[in-house]
């Protein structure tokens, strides 16, 4: 845990420069717009420790998979998010001396991620070896309004001298991934061009595999002193070498005279444009951006972010650290995925690092979907579902590859529908992911009421997943029950267990829900149902078999404690609460051998409790309480996805302090570098879990039978909590304070609502205060 950032409700602020924090700050101060993401690397040269990261959504690399010991069924490749051409670069020389913060004295350093307006700002004073001192101000953003555009303002002011400042804005495709086998590079240069007079240059790079083309274009203007004097017009000098194009401009600056460079960049890809058009499109967009000017683009940016905040802000009064935490999470989520492109999804690190390869995990369905459901147009959540629908054939192939005759097994990790992870205990065994994908369909339909989705897309996915489950179970003649052997549950600190309760339950639930959808479709749209049954060749015999499995599924339980057992044999372990472990042995994954972890009773992340959260409407409070009381003390929360679920359940059980503890653990995970790994990138998907812990947890939001339920619980540390949710065409503003709960319908659409057990309809623009929480 490392706390060096200032608490501020709207910004992340670093007010001194410590090179040891640079990679960590690079993650935290990342900017992005769903199309492109950029770590907070410096524009100018930096010879200190840094993880360069410029990432473009949907552009990946099928790298040779690193495998210690091959197992049949492993994928051939591991997809990697690609560090693409450095487009932020602006080399600075002062009378020939390179500016490099690792090699000069830095004072008055200030870095701010302004979340309200969506930009990154940096100011500092640097004293070079020569004794020359400059002030620098740099500001940049990736435009939400124009996804292919980014802009940088970079101003240098000589403090104690007059001299020549050389600016060399550049595009550099000679980049590496840190996560590369043996230093291999992933990009080839295709073309570059340069127009010194026009202050314009472009670079087209192509990935060595899969042929993704990315054209980066830059154009720039330099102003000396007063901006109103107009841009300098001197022809820039070309600086090119392999995979690199730059232009340099010398400016003779007086003491205290600010010289400002505006760099306008576009990054366009063959995912969106014909390869032949890339240069032209890039150039046009760049020209448009330059014509619009930095201030106009920035103003568009502020407006776009204002709209995002209007939809998704959460206000916590009385607890600035908690306020900053939740806003940071919402900000990063909105930077990562906008829903504009249905081919995209949400990687665990978003665009803030290479780890997890930018691929899609079950995180999307299990943790991210609710955020987008409640804060954005429903079609965005729908797109996340359709993403999996489009991968159905690949998921069927994946099941075939593992030897299943029927059904679909979605991959654990994927970029294009194919599995690209190779740990047998995860790849082959963490099959519960299939359940989360089914549950997300339920979640979406339950929230939005969009039952048409089921006939259109949902049923096919559900049916193929149910088929997988039915083949993956087997009848234990010993138990005379259906069992699921050899799985890894959500708790990855157990591998290859039998009858993981969560997996058995979510498998059975999938089949139940599929049959329910089938029955509903038979009522609502028999013609479409018949089409589907024909296409799927789904027979009564098969659905009867599902019914039989549902009725005879085995669930491990401990009757004496009245709890569900995480898996067979769990009670053979030594059961010692986490609090009794020596503090210096935590986190376990940094101190214990894998062998010891596996044999221990300690739970990495919610497992039985994950099921009680997902299927919360099927279990009474007493059951939840018994299981929470049993499992919470044994859970080490060494997955970022764990505390949010415990926080939500703790709210439901009115365990205020536990809920608040768990909330802090999730909401400031990256800002306080809780897991000591944020330098690799931010934990983007768990940020959606943080959002849930506020809205589902402290807000107590649920949707039951078409009614929006709220059951708020205000932590004693907070004066009030406000959030907005989009619900079936309405925008509901919820305000929770010690005095009560106010719900305000900010739209024309009436909604059925329940607040703290009181049911009512909330009409257009109606505001109502319910009884005290």
């Amino acid at each position: 845990m490392k706390q060096y950032l200032k608490v501020n409700e709207w910004s992340i602020i670093e007010d001194s420069f410590d090179p040891n924090n640079q990679e960590l700050s690079e993650s935290i101060f990342s900017i992005g717009n769903g199309h492109i993401g950029q770590r907070a690397n410096f524009e100018e040269a930096f010879s200190g420790q840094t993880l360069p990261g410029s990432y473009m959504a949907g552009v990946y690399y099928p790298d040779k998979t690193r495998v210690g010991w091959w197992k049949n069924g492993y994928p051939e490749y591991f997809a990697k998010v690609l560090n693409m051409a450095n487009w932020i670069g602006i080399d600075i020389k002062i009378d020939g001396e390179t500016l490099d913060l690792a090699r000069c004295k830095v004072d008055q350093f200030y870095r701010e991620l302004n979340m309200k307006e969506g930009y990154l700002l940096r100011r500092f004073t640097a004293t070079l070896d020569s004794g020359k001192q400059i002030q620098v101000e740099a500001q940049r953003f990736t435009s939400l309004a124009r996804p292919e555009v980014a802009a940088i303002m970079y101003a240098v002011t000589p403090v104690n001298f007059a001299g020549v400042i050389t600016f060399t804005p550049f595009l550099n495709g000679d980049v590496m991934n840190r996560d590369s086998n043996h230093g291999e590079q992933f990009w080839d240069e295709v073309e570059k061009y340069h127009d010194g007079h026009g202050h314009l240059a472009g670079l087209v790079m192509k990935t060595k595999k899969l042929d993704f083309y990315v054209c980066s274009t830059m154009t720039f203007e330099v102003f000396q002193g007063d901006l109103n004097k107009g841009a300098l017009t001197a022809t820039a000098n070309q600086v090119t070498h392999d995979k690199f194009v730059g232009q340099s401009v010398d400016v003779k600056a007086n003491k205290d005279e600010r010289v400002t460079l505006y760099k306008y960049i576009t990054n366009v890809t063959s995912r969106d444009h014909a390869v032949a058009d890339l240069i032209q499109v890039g150039r046009r967009r760049a020209d448009e951006a330059r014509s619009a000017k930095f201030e106009t683009l920035l103003s568009e940016q502020k407006q776009a972010w204002a709209k995002k905040w209007e939809e998704s802000d959460i206000i916590i009064q009385g607890d600035p650290a908690a306020q900053q935490g939740i806003r940071f999470n919402i900000f990063q989520l909105n930077q990562t995925y906008t829903g504009a492109d249905e081919r995209l999804n949400i990687g665990p690190k978003g665009f803030t690092g290479e780890k997890y390869g930018g691929s899609t995990y079950w995180d999307t369905e299990a943790y991210c979907l609710p955020f987008y459901l409640s804060t954005a147009d429903p079609k965005i959540a729908r797109n996340l579902l359709i993403y999996r629908y489009r991968h159905l054939e690949k998921a069927k192939e994946n099941a075939r590859k593992l030897g299943f005759k029927e059904g679909a097994l979605y991959p654990m990790v994927t970029m294009n529908g194919e599995e690209c992870h190779n740990e047998w205990e995860i790849t082959f065994e963490e099959i519960h992911r299939n359940g989360a994908i089914a549950h997300a369909i339920y979640d979406y339909v339950n929230y939005t009421g969009d039952v048409d989705y089921l006939g259109e897309y949902g049923f096919e996915v559900l049916a193929e997943i149910s088929r997988f489950w039915s083949e993956r179970t087997n009848l234990s003649t010993l138990k005379n029950k259906y069992v699921i052997l050899g799985v890894t549950g959500p708790n990855e600190y157990e591998n290859n267990v039998n009858n993981n309760w969560y997996t058995n339950r979510i498998a059975s639930w999938t089949m139940e829900y599929t049959l329910q959808v089938l029955t509903d479709l038979r009522q609502r749209d028999p013609k479409r149902l018949q089409e589907l049954l024909d296409r799927l060749q789904l027979t009564d015999e098969e659905t009867n078999n599902w019914q039989h499995i549902i009725q005879n599924m085995y669930y491990p339980t401990d009757k004496s404690r009245g709890v569900f057992l995480q898996q067979d044999g769990y009670l053979d372990k030594e059961i010692i609460p986490v609090k009794d472990l020596p503090a210096q042995e935590l986190p376990l994954n940094q101190h214990w051998s894998w062998d010891r972890i596996l044999r221990s009773c300690y739970i990495k992340q919610a497992d039985v409790l994950q099921g009680l959260f997902f299927l919360g409407n099927q279990y009474d409070l007493e059951t939840k309480k018994r299981n929470f009381d049993f499992y919470e003390p044994l859970t080490v929360h060494e997955s970022s996805l764990s505390p949010c679920v415990h926080s939500i359940l703790a709210c439901e059980l009115s365990y205020q302090d536990k809920a608040y503890d768990m909330y802090l653990r999730t909401s400031r995970l990256d800002l306080d570098n809780y897991n000591n790994d944020t330098e690799d990138g931010c934990h983007i998907t768990s940020m959606a879990g943080t959002w849930m812990s506020v809205v589902y947890g402290f807000g107590g939001l649920r949707v039951k039978e078409g009614r929006l339920h709220l059951q708020p619980l205000l932590p004693k540390e907070w004066q009030s909590l406000s959030f907005k949710v989009v619900y079936r065409g309405a925008l509901i503003h919820v305000h929770v304070s010690k005095d009560g709960v106010t719900v305000h319908n900010e739209t024309e659409t009436p909604v059925s609502i329940s607040v703290s057990g009181e049911n009512f309809d909330l009409g257009a623009h109606e505001k109502r205060t319910a009884r005290t929480v």
Copy 2:
């Protein structure tokens, strides 16, 4: 399965040349002498598919370990057997045209591994592109009598022309391992020298890590026509380049005139000599070999092998394929390990390939020890035990690394006592290896009666292993029994199971035996015991705890079937006999995903049955029968170590046909390439299992309370079976035929013996025939 070799009782013979079989033959026709091993690569150039392999015992390379996903506790390196300098090489040119069997027409090809006399012979006629035809005869061996010496005879006869034959014998250190990450080479050249007049050259190479030095020295003589005319004396031309030294000699040969080159090679290492002395020692040994002459060295070799066969031959009459199989196994075992160097051990592939890195596995204790116990001086088996004693500190470190406070966990795979394998399910979980190491001590003492070993070495190892077991168990409050969670048993088609019967049993047995040894020592040598207890700080409290665990160990069982259960939950699986699987799906490891294998009931190698074999004296025949009848039909024998155990138990149960089937499967595994992988090297350690299946199986040999028991069962396919065993100073010749069992004591030492239940003492040189089998 591939059968292209001729059946012959004393030789392996290939009588035509198929380049597709070359790598397979290279493995099978390997020669070695415990000090050095050499695949049957050709002396002359060969541009076809080949796996060059020259290996020196004890010289290894700690290569960077290949890991997909790191787990805490993994070792830093993987030890590899090193392909060292090619010392067999003799380049042949005919009027400048290179001889290369991949590029010429080959007739009358004949390759023989003469097991009786210990040499490799090859003859062929080659027609070159030019139409020139030559006859070649090549013979070589690695000397048993002079372990650092090897010799090659290479004769060329022009068939249809007269011309210049250029011989270039060489030493080439520019070699690779196939099993190398990214083509890295492992050797650096240190020094080379050359004496053209003396027909002598040397090359000193050093490994890039660990600084093993190997000096290869060659000297040679060339004879034209009649050998009596004396060697040619022309000065040889030097041919050197990086890591390579050779000498070439041109001989103008007449048609039909045989030109013969004798190459004498020594390979000496810094393991045995001071680095500064290597060149001198190598040169002296090479000079001595040349002075002795090839025929003398070959005659020494025949004598040395005659002695080996005298001790260890098995004669099977009436079944030449079975005869050839067992002799091949005995031959390879004797080539691999002679016991001369207690620092050495037995790698699963011996010196016949790179696979398994030449490292030591539990194979040594579980499968190899009995062979050496019964066919060689007891100090050889003792050396194998002392090897582990010397690694005790490393085994304790290994346990500490995994978080154990006490005790020793021997590595799964090792070259120097450190673990060098990195699959968690094997490295961390296949802990039953500790039990095999303890059991080997019992086995040795039981067979030899050398109780002094226990006080000297054995007890410390046993105590530290028992300590590990006691910490590795935990009390299940649910079962009120001690359990062992998260293990992989001998059957590697199950991972991370709870309460593997074999592991629980061997753990408990180790503690029982350790306590028994402690009690015996207290009687026999209380002073030594006190020294040991003090050194180990072993208290009554600790041994009482072992006692408590022994008495309360949990053993999974199926009471209804009366069988031990391989592990908890085994009966939840679908139980379908192997014979009901589609034949095309076997072997499973080539057709099924790992996921499917893990969940299936199929057993890779003897697991419960391994325990019933090891601890055979503790279980009655009925128990063995019930377990055999249950597990044999579910066993796929996809480990080479499996059929021998089943064969032995089948003999005990008088299942003649099953025993014979299993015997064939093990004894001709490599000759018939049963597992389709012998090109990687021969299955050396399973060859000792084959030996056991004859002597322990069909011979029914056991030692009980100091008496040698024989309970022969002659397969109906055999007329007779004869073997010899060394037992407590006596050499007993056992002959089993349809008429009865004859035992002949070929020594002065009387022995207590039991044949088919009849007990008697067999005096000096006494021969006795027992009742019909």
